[in-house]
Symmetry: C2
Subunit: 196 residues, 2 copies
DNA sequence: CAGACCATGTAAAACGTTACATGATTCG
DNA sequence: CGAATCATGTAACGTTTTACATGGTCTG
């Protein structure tokens, strides 16, 4: 059980439909969890069956009807229980780093290109997170908000996201630059044309 | 196919048995991939069937015999092909961040404790990675090694690991400190005893 | 009326985790 | 001789990904 708690935590900020939740998982929750809509719909059904969330049909006239969910008391209790037992350290999984690991044995050109693309993407994601931070704290400055704000959980995780994306951007940019500078000077094992 | 390429990349540095590979996946590869021994043994069998690695039985007298593997030309070609197509951005998955996201609605005490524990673990991991960096570049200084070294892939990914762990440590420490400082001053929604 | 977005799923395949199982060899 | 480490798996179970499928409503 894992996605379960991510969904519960995401629902704490108010009613959401599966579709809305999918959007949230693409932005605010994207820092620490990834899930496709199909997973979310399935999980919402299971969570409602378990009584951890309550669903309610919303009739819309301008759009298709939707079903929105709220966390129940049992749901909060489940989050409480989840938080009280230590989880194993997070794990990372990045194809790009596999490529960098192998870079001395293969053609570095596509790896460099992907590193540069990732640096741009990371900057864009950092920008989105920074917008979200501004939105979350409204007009208040960060220190005051963190000291006195009522809902700082999402702010703190978003702050983590900004740090991560900045660092990722730096590393990608530096690594790409380094590999590029070695292109002319240092020969490598790779024999172009050997691959198919 | 994903673990497949991580295994190939890890085998580029020389012959390894499944057991040795499991150790490598617990240290050097741990930055960007996680796998338990059972997965590795299964993957090695599949990779050998596919002709991407070649196995060889090593008779040992002081220890049980083992089977060691090397990447074949077809294996390098497969890595080459893998590196030439862009992969989707990495994903993160961290239970602790789910807990922080929910922290305004639950008892923050266990979350703070886990953040502090994680900060210590991150520092330890950073230390291990830094040792590995020293080992990889031997007596050479970093700039020279990165400019002229023959095998910089593992160094670059390890560098990424160090940055990540330091940043993670900072964020965990700061977040724990902040939540701790709010314990007395700011009341929260959580009603102790409501959870079971 | 086509394309974009809203809204929700089913089904199969691939992948990952957990529990269990076995046996060799060394060190204290 | 018990514990630690080396060495390699099988089987069951749970989760995630991919492909497919459907239909409403609005905007240009």
């Amino acid at each position: 059980m894992a996605l379960r708690h991510a969904v519960l935590a995401a629902l704490l900020d108010g009613e959401h439909s599966g579709y809305q939740l999918a959007k949230v998982f693409d932005t605010a929750v994207a820092n620490f969890w990834h899930a496709v809509p199909q997973q979310l719909y399935a999980e919402l059904t299971k969570l409602e069956e378990a009584g951890l969330i309550a669903g309610r049909l919303v009739i819309q006239h301008d759009r298709p009807n939707k079903r929105v969910y709220t966390v129940t008391e049992a749901g909060t209790a489940e989050l409480e229980r989840f938080a009280s037992v230590a989880s194993k350290p997070s794990f990372i999984r990045d194809d790009l780093l596999v490529k960098v690991q192998a870079v001395d044995h293969i053609d570095p050109a596509p790896v460099i290109a992907e590193l540069e693309e990732r640096a741009v993407q990371a900057a864009a994601k950092a920008g989105i997170f920074e917008q979200l931070l501004l939105f979350l704290r409204q007009d208040v400055d960060e220190d005051t908000f963190l000291r006195e704000g009522r809902r700082i959980g999402p702010y703190l995780t978003c702050l983590r996201g900004v740090l991560f994306e900045h660092e990722h951007q730096d590393w990608c940019r530096n690594t790409a630059k380094l590999l590029r500078s070695r292109l002319d000077t240092t020969p490598h094992d790779h024999v172009p044309g050997q691959a198919h």
